[in-house]
Protein backbone atom coordinates (compact mmCIF):
# COMPACT_ATOMS: atom_id res chain seq x y z
CA UNK A 1 0.00 0.00 0.00
CA UNK A 2 2.86 2.38 0.74
CA UNK A 3 4.31 1.04 -2.49
CA UNK A 4 5.94 3.96 -4.25
CA UNK A 5 8.40 3.56 -7.10
CA UNK A 6 10.69 6.04 -8.83
CA UNK A 7 10.06 6.44 -12.55
CA UNK A 8 11.46 8.68 -15.28
CA UNK A 9 9.19 10.98 -17.29
CA UNK A 10 9.45 10.13 -20.98
CA UNK A 11 6.86 12.59 -22.25
CA UNK A 12 4.00 14.77 -21.09
CA UNK A 13 0.93 13.81 -23.11
CA UNK A 14 0.02 16.49 -25.62
CA UNK A 15 -3.74 16.39 -25.19
CA UNK A 16 -3.79 15.91 -21.43
CA UNK A 17 -1.08 17.79 -19.55
CA UNK A 18 -2.07 16.10 -16.30
CA UNK A 19 -0.86 12.80 -17.75
CA UNK A 20 2.70 11.70 -18.41
CA UNK A 21 4.27 8.61 -19.95
CA UNK A 22 6.70 7.30 -17.36
CA UNK A 23 9.34 4.58 -17.67
CA UNK A 24 10.34 2.15 -14.92
CA UNK A 25 13.27 0.08 -16.17
CA UNK A 26 11.95 0.28 -19.73
CA UNK A 27 8.37 -0.54 -18.72
CA UNK A 28 6.16 2.33 -19.77
CA UNK A 29 3.07 3.45 -17.93
CA UNK A 30 0.76 6.42 -18.14
CA UNK A 31 0.75 8.23 -14.80
CA UNK A 32 -1.46 11.09 -13.59
CA UNK A 33 0.79 14.00 -12.61
CA UNK A 34 -2.06 16.30 -11.55
CA UNK A 35 -0.84 16.41 -7.94
CA UNK A 36 2.39 18.03 -9.17
CA UNK A 37 0.76 20.75 -11.28
CA UNK A 38 2.56 23.48 -9.30
CA UNK A 39 5.93 22.07 -10.31
CA UNK A 40 7.59 22.35 -13.71
CA UNK A 41 7.84 18.83 -15.15
CA UNK A 42 9.83 17.79 -18.18
CA UNK A 43 11.08 14.58 -19.80
CA UNK A 44 14.09 13.35 -17.87
CA UNK A 45 12.63 14.31 -14.48
CA UNK A 46 12.11 11.53 -11.97
CA UNK A 47 8.93 11.20 -9.95
CA UNK A 48 7.57 8.92 -7.24
CA UNK A 49 4.65 6.82 -8.52
CA UNK A 50 1.93 5.44 -6.26
CA UNK A 51 -1.26 3.72 -7.48
CA UNK A 52 -1.07 5.45 -10.86
CA UNK A 53 -0.35 8.96 -9.53
CA UNK A 54 2.84 10.99 -9.13
CA UNK A 55 3.15 12.13 -5.51
CA UNK A 56 6.46 13.94 -5.58
CA UNK A 57 9.25 15.03 -7.89
CA UNK A 58 12.51 13.42 -6.87
CA UNK A 59 15.07 15.98 -5.86
CA UNK A 60 18.22 14.81 -7.57
CA UNK A 61 20.43 17.10 -5.50
CA UNK A 62 19.12 15.61 -2.28
CA UNK A 63 19.50 12.13 -3.73
CA UNK A 64 23.11 12.88 -4.59
CA UNK A 65 23.75 14.31 -1.12
CA UNK A 66 22.22 11.22 0.48
CA UNK A 67 24.35 8.91 -1.61
CA UNK A 68 27.49 10.90 -0.91
CA UNK A 69 26.91 10.59 2.81
CA UNK A 70 26.29 6.86 2.50
CA UNK A 71 29.30 6.32 0.26
CA UNK A 72 31.36 8.34 2.71
CA UNK A 73 30.35 6.03 5.52
CA UNK A 74 31.22 3.07 3.33
CA UNK A 75 34.62 4.48 2.40
CA UNK A 76 35.48 5.40 5.98
CA UNK A 77 34.67 1.84 7.00
CA UNK A 78 36.81 0.35 4.25
CA UNK A 79 39.66 2.67 5.24
CA UNK A 80 39.36 1.60 8.86
CA UNK A 81 39.40 -2.05 7.90
CA UNK A 82 42.43 -1.46 5.74
CA UNK A 83 44.17 0.44 8.51
CA UNK A 84 43.39 -2.35 10.92
CA UNK A 85 44.75 -4.94 8.56
CA UNK A 86 47.94 -2.96 8.00
CA UNK A 87 48.47 -1.78 11.53
CA UNK A 88 51.15 -3.20 13.68
CA UNK A 89 49.63 -4.43 16.92
CA UNK A 90 52.20 -5.08 19.57
Amino acid sequence: MCLGIPGEIVEILADREDLAMVSVEGVKRVVNVGLLEDEPLAPGDWILIHVGFALSKIDEREAKASLEWLTGVGDAYTDELKALAESDIQ
Binding site: C2, L35, W46, V51
Partner: protein
Protein backbone atom coordinates in the same frame (compact mmCIF):
# COMPACT_ATOMS: atom_id res chain seq x y z
CA UNK B 1 16.87 0.59 -10.99
CA UNK B 2 17.88 4.17 -10.39
CA UNK B 3 17.14 5.69 -6.97
CA UNK B 4 16.61 2.14 -5.76
CA UNK B 5 19.70 0.00 -6.32
CA UNK B 6 22.12 2.59 -4.97
CA UNK B 7 20.28 2.43 -1.68
CA UNK B 8 20.75 -1.34 -1.45
CA UNK B 9 24.53 -1.57 -1.36
CA UNK B 10 25.62 -4.31 1.03
CA UNK B 11 29.06 -2.85 1.67
CA UNK B 12 27.61 0.43 2.88
CA UNK B 13 25.13 -1.51 4.99
CA UNK B 14 27.95 -3.27 6.83
CA UNK B 15 29.64 0.07 7.40
CA UNK B 16 26.45 1.59 8.75
CA UNK B 17 25.87 -1.43 10.93
CA UNK B 18 29.25 -0.88 12.57
CA UNK B 19 28.48 2.79 13.17
CA UNK B 20 25.09 1.87 14.61
CA UNK B 21 26.65 -0.64 16.99
CA UNK B 22 29.23 1.93 18.06
CA UNK B 23 26.50 4.39 19.05
CA UNK B 24 24.76 1.90 21.36
CA UNK B 25 25.46 2.46 25.05
CA UNK B 26 26.62 -0.73 26.72
CA UNK B 27 23.86 -2.35 28.72
CA UNK B 28 21.11 -0.23 27.18
CA UNK B 29 18.33 -1.62 25.04
CA UNK B 30 16.67 0.51 22.36
CA UNK B 31 13.15 0.24 21.01
CA UNK B 32 12.19 2.13 17.90
CA UNK B 33 8.82 1.93 16.27
CA UNK B 34 8.49 1.92 12.56
CA UNK B 35 5.01 3.28 12.03
CA UNK B 36 4.54 2.50 8.39
CA UNK B 37 3.55 -0.95 7.08
CA UNK B 38 5.74 -0.41 4.04
CA UNK B 39 8.76 -0.16 6.35
CA UNK B 40 7.77 -3.39 8.14
CA UNK B 41 7.65 -5.06 4.75
CA UNK B 42 11.08 -3.75 3.69
CA UNK B 43 12.69 -4.71 6.98
CA UNK B 44 11.64 -8.31 6.61
CA UNK B 45 11.96 -8.55 2.85
CA UNK B 46 15.64 -7.54 2.94
CA UNK B 47 16.48 -9.19 6.24
CA UNK B 48 17.46 -5.85 7.78
CA UNK B 49 17.37 -7.07 11.36
CA UNK B 50 20.52 -9.05 10.55
CA UNK B 51 22.32 -5.70 10.44
CA UNK B 52 21.15 -4.40 13.78
CA UNK B 53 22.72 -5.25 17.12
CA UNK B 54 20.70 -7.44 19.46
CA UNK B 55 20.08 -4.48 21.71
CA UNK B 56 18.18 -2.53 19.06
CA UNK B 57 14.70 -3.81 18.40
CA UNK B 58 12.22 -2.54 15.89
CA UNK B 59 8.60 -2.53 16.99
CA UNK B 60 5.95 -2.61 14.31
CA UNK B 61 3.29 0.06 14.42
CA UNK B 62 -0.25 0.65 13.17
CA UNK B 63 0.64 2.19 9.81
CA UNK B 64 -0.93 -0.56 7.79
CA UNK B 65 -4.18 0.82 6.40
CA UNK B 66 -5.58 -2.62 5.60
CA UNK B 67 -4.78 -3.88 9.08
CA UNK B 68 -6.79 -1.20 10.85
CA UNK B 69 -10.06 -1.72 9.00
CA UNK B 70 -12.63 -3.21 11.40
CA UNK B 71 -14.55 -6.33 10.37
CA UNK B 72 -17.85 -4.45 10.21
CA UNK B 73 -16.58 -2.24 7.38
CA UNK B 74 -15.55 -5.33 5.39
CA UNK B 75 -19.06 -6.70 5.88
CA UNK B 76 -20.50 -3.37 4.66
CA UNK B 77 -18.39 -3.52 1.51
CA UNK B 78 -19.46 -7.11 0.87
CA UNK B 79 -23.11 -6.12 1.34
CA UNK B 80 -22.62 -3.53 -1.42
CA UNK B 81 -20.75 -5.99 -3.66
CA UNK B 82 -23.43 -8.65 -3.37
CA UNK B 83 -25.98 -6.44 -5.13
CA UNK B 84 -26.62 -7.61 -8.69
CA UNK B 85 -25.90 -4.30 -10.35
CA UNK B 86 -22.67 -3.55 -8.47
CA UNK B 87 -19.05 -4.12 -9.43
CA UNK B 88 -16.76 -3.65 -6.41
CA UNK B 89 -13.18 -2.69 -7.28
CA UNK B 90 -10.40 -2.99 -4.72
CA UNK B 91 -6.66 -3.16 -4.23
CA UNK B 92 -5.36 -6.72 -4.05
CA UNK B 93 -4.47 -6.46 -0.39
CA UNK B 94 -8.09 -6.27 0.71
CA UNK B 95 -9.17 -9.45 -1.04
CA UNK B 96 -8.52 -11.89 1.78
CA UNK B 97 -9.25 -9.69 4.80
CA UNK B 98 -11.79 -11.61 6.88
CA UNK B 99 -15.08 -9.92 7.73
CA UNK B 100 -17.73 -11.40 10.00
CA UNK B 101 -18.76 -14.02 7.46
CA UNK B 102 -15.83 -14.25 5.08
CA UNK B 103 -13.62 -12.15 2.83
CA UNK B 104 -14.02 -10.43 -0.55
CA UNK B 105 -12.40 -13.53 -2.03
CA UNK B 106 -15.04 -15.81 -0.53
CA UNK B 107 -17.76 -13.46 -1.72
CA UNK B 108 -16.29 -13.48 -5.21
CA UNK B 109 -16.27 -17.27 -5.27
CA UNK B 110 -19.94 -17.17 -4.26
CA UNK B 111 -20.78 -14.94 -7.21
CA UNK B 112 -20.23 -11.27 -6.27
CA UNK B 113 -18.53 -9.19 -8.99
CA UNK B 114 -15.35 -8.10 -7.20
CA UNK B 115 -12.34 -7.06 -9.26
CA UNK B 116 -8.76 -6.22 -8.36
CA UNK B 117 -7.32 -2.91 -9.56
CA UNK B 118 -3.93 -1.26 -9.20
CA UNK B 119 -5.19 2.31 -9.24
CA UNK B 120 -8.47 4.13 -8.55
CA UNK B 121 -8.20 5.28 -12.18
CA UNK B 122 -8.59 1.62 -13.22
CA UNK B 123 -11.88 1.63 -11.31
CA UNK B 124 -12.98 4.67 -13.35
CA UNK B 125 -12.18 2.69 -16.52
CA UNK B 126 -14.40 -0.13 -15.30
CA UNK B 127 -17.18 2.39 -14.68
CA UNK B 128 -16.87 3.82 -18.19
CA UNK B 129 -16.88 0.34 -19.73
CA UNK B 130 -19.93 -0.81 -17.74
CA UNK B 131 -22.50 2.00 -17.90
CA UNK B 132 -25.32 -0.30 -16.82
CA UNK B 133 -23.53 -1.26 -13.61
CA UNK B 134 -22.71 0.77 -10.52
CA UNK B 135 -18.98 0.64 -9.86
CA UNK B 136 -17.78 1.15 -6.29
CA UNK B 137 -14.12 1.66 -5.41
CA UNK B 138 -13.02 0.43 -1.99
CA UNK B 139 -10.88 3.40 -0.97
CA UNK B 140 -8.30 2.55 1.68
CA UNK B 141 -5.00 4.04 2.75
CA UNK B 142 -3.53 6.84 4.78
CA UNK B 143 -2.83 10.33 3.47
CA UNK B 144 -0.56 8.75 0.86
CA UNK B 145 -3.47 7.39 -1.10
CA UNK B 146 -6.28 9.82 -0.21
CA UNK B 147 -5.21 12.45 -2.76
CA UNK B 148 -5.29 9.87 -5.55
CA UNK B 149 -8.79 8.82 -4.56
CA UNK B 150 -9.83 12.46 -4.37
CA UNK B 151 -8.37 13.23 -7.82
CA UNK B 152 -10.29 10.27 -9.20
CA UNK B 153 -13.56 11.58 -7.78
CA UNK B 154 -12.82 14.98 -9.32
CA UNK B 155 -12.11 13.28 -12.65
CA UNK B 156 -15.40 11.37 -12.41
CA UNK B 157 -17.23 14.63 -11.64
CA UNK B 158 -15.55 16.39 -14.59
CA UNK B 159 -16.65 13.58 -16.91
CA UNK B 160 -20.17 13.53 -15.50
CA UNK B 161 -19.91 9.81 -14.66
CA UNK B 162 -23.04 8.85 -12.75
CA UNK B 163 -22.22 5.19 -12.03
CA UNK B 164 -19.03 5.61 -9.99
CA UNK B 165 -18.69 5.99 -6.23
CA UNK B 166 -16.16 5.32 -3.47
CA UNK B 167 -16.56 3.53 -0.14
CA UNK B 168 -14.24 5.76 1.82
CA UNK B 169 -12.07 4.14 4.51
CA UNK B 170 -9.14 6.55 4.40
CA UNK B 171 -7.52 7.16 7.76
CA UNK B 172 -4.99 9.70 9.00
CA UNK B 173 -1.64 8.91 10.60
CA UNK B 174 -1.23 11.49 13.35
CA UNK B 175 -4.11 10.23 15.55
CA UNK B 176 -2.66 6.72 15.28
CA UNK B 177 0.77 7.89 16.38
CA UNK B 178 -0.82 9.86 19.21
CA UNK B 179 -2.70 6.74 20.35
CA UNK B 180 0.63 4.92 20.50
CA UNK B 181 2.28 7.76 22.44
CA UNK B 182 -0.60 7.85 24.92
CA UNK B 183 -0.60 4.10 25.37
CA UNK B 184 0.69 3.17 28.83
CA UNK B 185 1.96 -0.22 27.69
CA UNK B 186 4.72 1.02 25.48
CA UNK B 187 8.12 2.55 26.11
CA UNK B 188 9.69 3.70 22.89
CA UNK B 189 12.95 5.53 22.30
CA UNK B 190 11.96 7.01 18.98
CA UNK B 191 10.14 6.62 15.70
CA UNK B 192 11.07 5.71 12.17
CA UNK B 193 8.62 8.07 10.52
CA UNK B 194 6.33 7.25 7.61
CA UNK B 195 7.94 7.95 4.26
CA UNK B 196 5.19 8.31 1.71
CA UNK B 197 2.54 9.75 4.02
CA UNK B 198 5.05 12.53 4.60
CA UNK B 199 5.25 13.38 0.90
CA UNK B 200 1.69 14.60 1.38
CA UNK B 201 1.60 15.99 4.93
CA UNK B 202 5.28 16.98 5.19
CA UNK B 203 7.30 16.74 8.40
CA UNK B 204 5.76 19.56 10.45
CA UNK B 205 2.82 17.49 11.76
CA UNK B 206 5.32 15.31 13.66
CA UNK B 207 6.86 18.21 15.59
CA UNK B 208 4.54 17.67 18.57
CA UNK B 209 6.13 14.25 19.11
CA UNK B 210 9.50 15.81 19.93
CA UNK B 211 8.08 18.88 21.62
CA UNK B 212 5.39 17.33 23.84
CA UNK B 213 6.46 13.72 24.21
CA UNK B 214 10.22 14.10 23.99
CA UNK B 215 10.72 11.40 21.37
CA UNK B 216 12.79 11.85 18.20
CA UNK B 217 11.42 10.90 14.79
CA UNK B 218 13.32 10.37 11.54
CA UNK B 219 11.28 10.30 8.34
CA UNK B 220 12.65 7.34 6.37
CA UNK B 221 12.76 6.10 2.80
CA UNK B 222 11.92 2.53 1.85
CA UNK B 223 15.20 1.13 0.68
CA UNK B 224 17.28 -0.88 3.17
CA UNK B 225 19.98 1.80 3.47
CA UNK B 226 17.30 4.43 4.12
CA UNK B 227 16.06 2.51 7.12
CA UNK B 228 19.53 1.75 8.43
CA UNK B 229 20.53 5.39 8.08
CA UNK B 230 17.38 6.42 9.93
CA UNK B 231 18.19 4.07 12.82
CA UNK B 232 21.68 5.58 12.83
CA UNK B 233 20.24 9.11 12.96
CA UNK B 234 17.92 8.19 15.84
CA UNK B 235 20.79 6.70 17.83
CA UNK B 236 22.94 9.73 17.08
CA UNK B 237 20.23 12.01 18.42
CA UNK B 238 19.95 9.99 21.61
CA UNK B 239 23.73 9.89 21.93
CA UNK B 240 23.98 13.66 21.50
CA UNK B 241 21.02 14.37 23.74
CA UNK B 242 18.94 15.88 20.94
CA UNK B 243 15.27 15.35 20.29
CA UNK B 244 14.20 16.48 16.83
CA UNK B 245 12.26 15.63 13.73
CA UNK B 246 14.64 14.80 10.88
CA UNK B 247 14.03 14.03 7.23
CA UNK B 248 16.22 11.19 5.94
CA UNK B 249 14.02 10.84 2.85
CA UNK B 250 14.63 14.40 1.62
CA UNK B 251 15.01 13.26 -1.97
CA UNK B 252 11.27 12.53 -2.01
CA UNK B 253 9.71 14.19 1.04
CA UNK B 254 9.34 17.99 0.99
CA UNK B 255 9.38 19.45 4.51
CA UNK B 256 6.14 21.30 3.82
CA UNK B 257 4.41 18.39 2.09
CA UNK B 258 2.38 18.62 -1.12
CA UNK B 259 0.01 21.58 -0.91
CA UNK B 260 -1.93 20.65 -4.02
CA UNK B 261 -2.54 17.14 -2.66
CA UNK B 262 -3.77 18.54 0.67
CA UNK B 263 -6.09 20.94 -1.18
CA UNK B 264 -7.51 18.13 -3.29
CA UNK B 265 -8.20 16.02 -0.20
CA UNK B 266 -9.89 19.00 1.43
CA UNK B 267 -12.02 19.67 -1.64
CA UNK B 268 -13.49 16.18 -1.82
CA UNK B 269 -13.28 14.87 1.76
CA UNK B 270 -13.67 15.94 5.36
CA UNK B 271 -12.76 14.44 8.73
CA UNK B 272 -15.28 12.14 10.38
CA UNK B 273 -16.01 13.02 14.02
CA UNK B 274 -14.74 9.59 14.97
CA UNK B 275 -13.92 6.24 13.35
CA UNK B 276 -13.32 2.78 14.71
CA UNK B 277 -9.82 1.41 14.19
CA UNK B 278 -9.23 -2.27 14.55
CA UNK B 279 -7.39 -2.79 17.81
CA UNK B 280 -7.17 0.89 18.72
CA UNK B 281 -10.87 1.50 19.27
CA UNK B 282 -12.72 4.71 18.38
CA UNK B 283 -10.43 7.63 17.61
CA UNK B 284 -11.72 11.17 17.06
CA UNK B 285 -10.96 13.06 13.88
CA UNK B 286 -8.97 10.18 12.49
CA UNK B 287 -10.69 9.23 9.23
CA UNK B 288 -12.08 10.82 6.10
CA UNK B 289 -15.48 10.75 4.45
CA UNK B 290 -16.86 12.25 1.25
CA UNK B 291 -18.18 15.80 1.51
CA UNK B 292 -21.84 16.66 0.92
CA UNK B 293 -21.13 18.39 -2.38
CA UNK B 294 -19.76 15.11 -3.80
CA UNK B 295 -22.57 13.01 -2.32
CA UNK B 296 -23.31 11.36 -5.66
CA UNK B 297 -19.87 9.73 -5.43
CA UNK B 298 -20.30 8.51 -1.86
CA UNK B 299 -21.19 4.82 -1.68
CA UNK B 300 -22.26 5.17 1.97
CA UNK B 301 -24.99 7.62 0.92
CA UNK B 302 -25.99 5.76 -2.23
CA UNK B 303 -26.26 2.29 -0.70
CA UNK B 304 -27.66 1.52 2.70
CA UNK B 305 -25.15 -0.66 4.46
CA UNK B 306 -25.67 -2.74 7.60
CA UNK B 307 -23.22 -0.52 9.48
CA UNK B 308 -23.06 -3.13 12.19
CA UNK B 309 -20.13 -3.05 14.52
CA UNK B 310 -18.60 -6.52 14.51
CA UNK B 311 -16.40 -7.36 17.44
CA UNK B 312 -13.05 -8.89 16.59
CA UNK B 313 -12.89 -12.64 17.32
CA UNK B 314 -12.03 -13.11 20.98
CA UNK B 315 -8.81 -14.86 20.12
CA UNK B 316 -7.58 -12.09 17.85
CA UNK B 317 -4.80 -9.95 19.29
CA UNK B 318 -4.26 -7.73 16.24
CA UNK B 319 -4.84 -4.66 18.36
CA UNK B 320 -1.90 -5.37 20.59
CA UNK B 321 0.33 -6.24 17.64
CA UNK B 322 -0.67 -3.00 15.92
CA UNK B 323 0.26 -1.01 19.00
CA UNK B 324 3.58 -2.76 19.17
CA UNK B 325 2.80 -4.24 22.57
CA UNK B 326 3.01 -7.81 21.27
CA UNK B 327 5.51 -9.26 18.82
CA UNK B 328 3.69 -11.30 16.17
CA UNK B 329 4.82 -14.65 17.53
CA UNK B 330 3.56 -13.71 20.98
CA UNK B 331 -0.05 -13.71 19.80
CA UNK B 332 -1.81 -16.81 21.14
CA UNK B 333 -3.13 -17.88 17.75
CA UNK B 334 -0.11 -16.99 15.64
CA UNK B 335 0.84 -19.83 13.35
CA UNK B 336 -1.83 -22.23 14.54
CA UNK B 337 -5.39 -21.03 14.06
CA UNK B 338 -4.10 -17.87 12.35
CA UNK B 339 -1.86 -18.34 9.29
CA UNK B 340 -1.63 -16.53 5.96
CA UNK B 341 -3.92 -19.12 4.36
CA UNK B 342 -6.40 -19.09 7.25
CA UNK B 343 -6.08 -15.62 8.73
CA UNK B 344 -8.10 -14.66 11.79
CA UNK B 345 -6.99 -11.04 11.79
CA UNK B 346 -5.78 -8.41 9.41
CA UNK B 347 -2.15 -8.39 10.54
CA UNK B 348 -1.74 -11.80 8.93
CA UNK B 349 -3.39 -10.84 5.65
CA UNK B 350 -1.95 -7.58 4.47
CA UNK B 351 1.42 -7.69 2.74
CA UNK B 352 2.39 -4.94 5.19
CA UNK B 353 0.98 -6.58 8.29
CA UNK B 354 3.55 -7.38 10.96
CA UNK B 355 2.35 -10.97 11.38
CA UNK B 356 2.32 -11.67 7.66
CA UNK B 357 5.78 -10.15 7.25
CA UNK B 358 7.17 -12.18 10.14
CA UNK B 359 5.50 -15.45 9.11
CA UNK B 360 6.28 -15.14 5.41
CA UNK B 361 9.75 -13.64 5.57
CA UNK B 362 11.30 -13.53 8.98
CA UNK B 363 10.06 -16.66 10.63
CA UNK B 364 13.35 -18.11 11.60
CA UNK B 365 15.74 -17.43 14.40
CA UNK B 366 18.65 -15.26 13.40
CA UNK B 367 21.30 -17.74 14.56
CA UNK B 368 20.01 -20.61 12.48
CA UNK B 369 19.64 -18.38 9.44
CA UNK B 370 23.24 -17.20 9.81
CA UNK B 371 24.46 -20.80 9.98
CA UNK B 372 22.45 -21.84 6.97
CA UNK B 373 23.63 -18.96 4.81
CA UNK B 374 27.31 -19.10 5.70
CA UNK B 375 29.02 -19.37 2.32
Amino acid sequence: MRFVDEFRDAGTARALATRIAALCEPGRRYKFMEVCGGHTHTIYKHGLEDYLPETVSLVHGPGCPVCVIPMGRVDDAIAIAERDDVILTTFGDMLRVPGGRGSFFDSKAAGADIRMVYSPLDALKVARKNPDKRVVFMAIGFETTAPSTAMTVLRAAAEGLDNFSIFCNHVTIIPAIKAILDSPDLRLDGFIGPGHVSTIIGCRPYEFIAREYGKPLVCAGFEPLDILQSVYQLLLQLHEGRCEIENQYARVVPWDGNLKALQVIGEVMELRPHFEWRGLGFIAQSALRVRERYASFDAERIFSVPGVRVADPKACQCGEVLKGVLRPWECKVFGTACTPETPIGTCMVSSEGACAAYYNFGRFSRERVKEATQA
